[in-house]
Amino acid sequence: MTTADARAMQPPFPAERGVDAYNTKLGMWVFLASEVMFFTALIGAYIILRFGAPGEWARPGTVLNVPVTAFNTFLLICSSVSMVKAYASIADGNQKLLKFWFLVTIICGASFVGVQAYEYLHLIHRGFVPSGVRDGSELAELVANGTLPGASLGLYGSTFYTMTGFHGFHVTCGVISMIYLYLTKVLPGKYTQQNYGGVEVIGLYWHFVDLVWIILFTIVYLI
């Protein structure tokens, strides 16, 4: 298995062995450990609140748009594959494929954000907001005529927007970082077969964001 050549990425002075990962890679893994705890707080709060919720929780698909989000999930997974293909390309020394797959990743990632923004606007239009259900909206009527259980919708809105919102924020940061790297390092051919740590490191972040979404999609949209 190739990982970006460790010695190329090491600073040019001797050190004790540590873990066999160069500094930026180790730093990214350490950062991801903190991100696990951050999402634990948000997702954990959701699980805890849902367990203790007064009354029923709205059934999957009745408030949120599952088909569109399923497509969006597929899009994000594809972007994860294209990212790892980009990494494999430069590990094999192929600049052209690196540029191609990197761009595909950016496009898929940006599309994910776009679709999610669209979903948010649509939900808000229907009346689903962070505080629950907006008075006089389409969803408020469904609550009034008993189709939707109203007692826990306040919690539903709170947890949904916070979790998916922060995930979307992380995706956006990832896309912006990738655009920056694409323009400053990928296109000018600054990554080589001996030095592609940046691709590996942004890849780790991107896969992590995908991983969190895999969990979120299941527990927010499907349960």
Binding site: P14, F31, S158, T162
Partner: protein, 588 residues
């Protein structure tokens, strides 16, 4: 003083022609960042102290006009008499500033930054620019928090622990913008802390000089490393909770609002899941630095070095599963409560191991009571008292009576002031020459130590008595309760002691400032210490070493049989010492 043979690069500095703003303002040099944290944190320590003085005025002289109180707005203190609405802000913000903006950055922001590369033999941190970002984020957070004191409705006021639903409901607490600014400041501070932690962890793992194996690291570095892991994993939970609180206040979410199905206890669990590791963040670096200072002052190796390391790891590990002991009276599940009681009792053990090891280090040592040693020994004594009061609180049935009383306040201050702050006074004095090239005045340092020790104990020890009598925390006017009226003279006494304690700190402040310009110039190793940082000139140059040092032994080889001096630096090669394997393996 023996010349240090075989240590490459001593005294070499590469030519440093950075402009002033890159050298001292937007610096990526870990030493400058550490010093920046020092000045900013000492400022916030002063802010916290001023808030405390006002608290003590109200408690010692209830409902009387405070000297200087006319400066405060009419809404907070009409005619200089502190209002209850202002008092609760004082209490909240005193805790907030002291924990988040004074002690934490003093221990971690200053010493993790300053010491880690120096004591490990590295040129700088793994990510110098992220390090700089971490400082500026912390400063920004502090300024946001400071600004919350000056908004019209006033600052946050639900206690530094910010319990919901009081903190989530401006209509209940009266604090709107001030509360939101608190949340924003905490989120920013969390970010700063996480960025810092990832730097410290990466540097310690990957950038130790050849020969600096894990078990040759000084205990200060072990403590800072483990603290960084605690911070890395605990601060995000606080940030998440603060985000949820901010959303409850601003966009109408219901995380902590029982009326809409939210759970008030959710805040407490999230906060204390962060909060308990946080208190270990506030003590472990102090313990680590105290170990360094006691070994130096005893001229002996640390007793039980390995068990000290395992105790630090044990404390950090157990610290994750004791958080509920802050919530014994919250109405949480009693079975859960019992579990927390057991785990809390267990965590006393590694702390006790450390205490005995410090004593074992001093036993039959060639004791030098320089100012850092005095503070370090004072730390041990005061921390024991704080720790013992902790045992009382660990027992749930006892805690039922003393929770939220001044017994808790006494405990907090014994471990945070008697513990962390004493260690900091010692550490600031100890590493002052390495930071500034001069020594603080020894005589005034001793005067400051003894007076602080006296007034500090006079201030905080009686609080145990108040607490046992049922004097509650955060109360505005104890005389409203008949059963507390007999204790009012004690409150009065505590307040006077506190004012004197605060006044005495002027000695430290003046010593610190004046020594910057008029202090005795320090030799390279004024404390005759073994750490790698003492092989560099004072102050240490940019880039530290021209060539990375080689390490041949552990950090506490004092009174070694093979040397004439009573210390033996880690990088000094003796005739029989083998070269570290990593030096040739890396081969650059």
């Amino acid at each position: 003083m023996t010349t240090v043979a075989g240590t490459p690069g001593v005294g070499h500095t590469h030519h440093d022609d950075r402009p002033f703003i890159r050298k001292y303002i937007f610096s990526t040099d870990h030493k400058i960042i550490g010093i920046q944290f020092l000045f900013v944190s000492l400022f916030f320590l002063l802010v916290g102290g001023l808030l405390a003085m006002q608290i003590r005025w109200q408690l010692g002289f209830p409902n009387q006009p405070m000297p200087g109180g006319k400066l405060l707005p009419e809404t907070m203190a009409p005619d200089g008499v502190i209002l209850p609405e202002y008092y609760i802000q004082l209490v909240t913000m005193h805790g907030t500033f002291m924990v988040f903006f004074a002690i934490m950055p003093l221990l971690v922001g200053v010493y993790a930054n300053f010491l880690i590369p120096l004591k490990l033999g590295a040129h700088d941190m793994a990510f110098p620019r992220i390090n700089m970002a971490s400082f500026w984020a912390a400063l920004l957070a502090g300024l946001v928090m400071l600004s919350s004191l000056f908004v019209p409705e006033g600052a946050a006021r639900a206690g530094w622990t910010m319990y919901a639903p009081l903190s989530a409901r401006p209509d209940l607490s009266g604090a709107g913008l001030g509360q939101q600014l608190w949340c924003v400041a905490i989120i920013l501070l969390g970010l700063s802390s996480i960025l810092g932690s990832l730097n410290y962890i990466t540097t310690v793992i990957n950038m130790r000089a050849p020969g600096m194996t894990w078990f040759r690291m000084p205990l200060s570095i072990w403590a800072l490393f483990i603290t960084a892991i605690l911070g890395l994993l605990a601060l995000p939970v606080l940030s998440g909770a603060a985000i949820m609180l901010l959303f409850d206040q601003t966009i109408g979410t219901h995380f902590f609002d029982p009326a809409a199905g939210g759970q008030a206890l959710l805040w407490q669990h999230l906060f204390w899941f962060f909060g308990h590791p946080e208190v270990y963040i506030l003590i472990l670096p102090a313990m680590g630095m105290v170990s360094d200072m006691i070994a130096n002052g005893s001229r002996k190796p640390i007793f039980g070095y390995h068990s000290m390391v395992f105790a630090i790891i044990g404390i950090a590990f157990l610290g994750w599963i004791v958080w509920g002991h802050h919530m014994f009276v919250s109405g949480m599940n009693p079975t859960l409560g019992s579990t927390f009681m057991v785990t809390t009792m267990i965590i006393a053990v590694p702390s006790a191991i450390k205490t005995f090891n410090w004593l074992g280090t001093m036993w039959r040592g060639n004791l030098r009571f320089h100012v850092p040693m005095m503070h370090a020994v004072g730390f041990v004594a005061m921390f024991v008292i704080g720790g013992l009061s902790g045992i009382f609180m660990a027992a749930t049935p006892v805690d039922m009576h003393i929770h939220d009383t001044y017994f808790i306040v006494a405990h907090i201050h014994y471990v945070l002031f008697g513990g962390s702050l004493f260690a900091l006074f010692g550490a600031i004095t100890f590493w002052y020459p390495k930071m500034f090239g001069r020594l603080m005045h020894e005589g005034w340092g001793k005067v400051h130590f003894w007076l602080t020790m006296l007034f500090y104990n006079l201030t905080f020890f009686p609080m145990h008595i108040l607490g046992m009598a049922g004097h509650m925390r955060r109360i505005y006017d104890p005389t409203m309760y008949d059963f507390l009226k007999p204790y009012q003279p004690l409150n009065h006494f505590i307040s006077i002691s506190a004012f004197l304690l605060f006044a005495v700190q002027a000695i430290f402040a003046l010593n610190f400032i004046i020594s910057l310009f008029r202090g005795a110039k320090a030799s390279m190793n004024p404390w005759q210490d073994n750490g790698l940082e003492w092989t560099l000139p004072n102050p240490a140059p940019h880039g530290n070493w021209a060539e990375v040092p080689r390490v041949y032994r552990g950090p506490y080889e004092y009174s070694h049989p093979d040397t004439t001096e009573d210390f033996l630096p880690q990088s000094q090669k003796l005739p029989g010492d083998p070269e570290p394997a990593a030096a040739s393996a890396a081969g650059h």
